[in-house]
């Protein structure tokens, strides 16, 4: 087997992902946990870690793009096709799924590395569901029901869905490089400032470490595929960390190994599991965990299906859209991330009200009211 550019990119992606997995395990970085801490305890430490990772990743990605080093705009996020239905519906379904499934895509991989067999089941179901949505039976539904909700931005006179272009389209000002620098650095600074304004972030260095390291790893992903991997004769897609479609591709790769080729996304999926596993061994926290409760198994299976389906519709998960996509400043990534948070928070409120033997629809109504009037969530 010849060592190609693709193998170099995959190898570097794997190494970055090993660090991601180890740090996420060590620091308890969890986007669903972030929503849970916020909604159930009013604590914004882990949410701050997530937002800090976004801010750092934006700063890095924008510098790489605006200095001409990496063509971030050629990634899947900032296209002229604005898949509003996918961002909204996919994001909501993903948010519901990650709450039922015990964590988002990256958390599932991290937990697989710690010996959690419940997460292994979620991972397998998620992978099948994602692949079915990319190319299988669920793709029929995606094409028939979700894709028609896509808006062609060029027809609206907007160059692409980057925040600077959207702003330019709405206000009539030209999206010059100066405007792009200003928008990029302002959004990055705002997010970092918001994160550090949270006492719960400042009080726990794990949250700061998680935010900084994961933000830097996303930048490392862009550098790997877009700069180191830039080769006209052996091109690779410009991308950074994402965990839903790549998980589907990983399963397909493992099942058709002799006829398949590794890529950056597959290497990242395997790397996060490896990194978490290595940390679990060194910290002596590796422990086999299995299902003990019937309802818990139903929840995890449903979570896997919803994350695979919703994650593909939304073009990514809490990391794929929620950090990598956001680092490109694509409007759709912000919408998808907010939809995921809303879906997750709503599911937690429904679970909370269902403990009072409330019917599903009554709990849904009460949960929506809670989100609209957040002070109600203090009880």
């Amino acid at each position: 087997m010849e060592f190609s550019n693709l193998h170099l990119v995959a190898g570097l992606g794997f190494l970055l992902a090993v660090v991601f997995g180890a740090v996420a395990n060590r620091t308890n970085f969890c986007t669903m946990g972030a929503v849970s801490d916020w909604v159930n305890m009013g604590l914004k430490g882990r949410l701050g870690a997530w937002v800090l990772a976004m801010g750092i990743a934006i700063a890095g990605a924008q510098i790489l793009e605006l200095t001409g080093l990496v063509d971030i705009g050629s990634s899947i996020y900032r296209t002229t096709s604005f898949g509003l239905g996918g961002y909204l519906i996919g994001g909501l379904l993903f948010g519901i799924g990650m709450t039922l499934g015990g964590g988002c895509g990256q958390r599932t991989l991290v937990r697989v590395g710690t010996g959690n067999l419940k997460s292994l089941v979620v991972l397998l179901v998620l992978a099948v569901s994602a692949y079915m949505t990319l190319r299988g039976l669920f793709a029929v539904l995606r094409v028939a029901a979700i894709e028609p909700m896509t808006i062609d931005l060029q027809a609206q006179g907007i160059a692409d869905q980057g925040l600077a272009s959207v702003l330019a389209g709405w206000t009539g000002i030209e999206a010059t490089d100066t405007v792009r620098w200003a928008v990029g650095l302002a959004v990055a600074a705002l997010l970092c400032l918001w994160a550090f304004s949270q006492k719960a972030l400042r009080d726990n260095k794990d949250n700061i470490v998680a935010g900084v390291v994961i933000g830097l790893i996303i930048i490392g992903g862009w550098v790997t595929t877009g700069l180191i991997g830039m080769d006209d004769f052996d091109p690779v897609p410009v991308e950074a960390m994402s965990f839903i479609a790549p998980t589907g591709n990983t399963l397909s790769y493992l099942m058709t190994y002799t006829g398949s080729t590794i890529n950056f996304g597959i290497a990242v999926v395997l790397g996060v599991i490896a990194g978490s596993f290595i940390y679990a061994l060194f910290s002596r926290t590796f422990a086999i965990e299995t299902f003990t409760d019937r309802q818990d198994m139903i929840n995890h299976l449903s979570g896997g299906v919803l994350m695979g389906f919703g994650g593909v519709l939304a073009l990514g998960c809490t990391v794929g859209q929620g950090i990598t996509g956001i680092s490109t400043l694509a409007l759709g990534s912000f919408i998808a991330a907010i939809s995921i948070i809303v879906g997750s928070a709503l599911t937690m409120r429904i679970q909370y009200h269902r403990m009072d033997e409330m019917g599903l629809f009554a709990a849904l109504g009460t949960g929506v009211a809670d989100l609209l009037m957040p002070w109600r969530m203090k009880d």
């Binding site: 669903m32 159930n40 305890m41 422990a287 965990e289 937690m348 009072d356």
Partner: protein
């Protein structure tokens, strides 16, 4: 005499369920009452520390017994 008012078994459940159930159970207790929680999710250790700190309900105990984690929370 047991050293808790009410016991909650959240074995087999992952985040956010142990916290959600504890929150609901505490709501039904009086100030000074003690809730004992049994969980198996390793992530619950940090969750209950944060929950106690944030809500003011004192975490009297956080211990490991075999494959389970035991918490005792005193309602504020």
């Amino acid at each position: 005499m047991s050293n808790f008012t009410k016991q909650l078994d959240a074995s087999g459940l992952n985040c956010p369920m142990p916290i959600l159930r504890a929150k609901k159970a505490l709501k039904e207790l009086q100030a000074g009452d003690i809730l004992r929680v049994i969980a198996t999710d390793p992530g619950s250790v940090k969750d209950f520390e944060a929950f106690a700190k944030q809500t003011g309900n004192e975490l009297l105990e956080s211990a490991e017994e075999g494959d389970s984690f035991i918490y005792r929370l005193k309602k504020a």
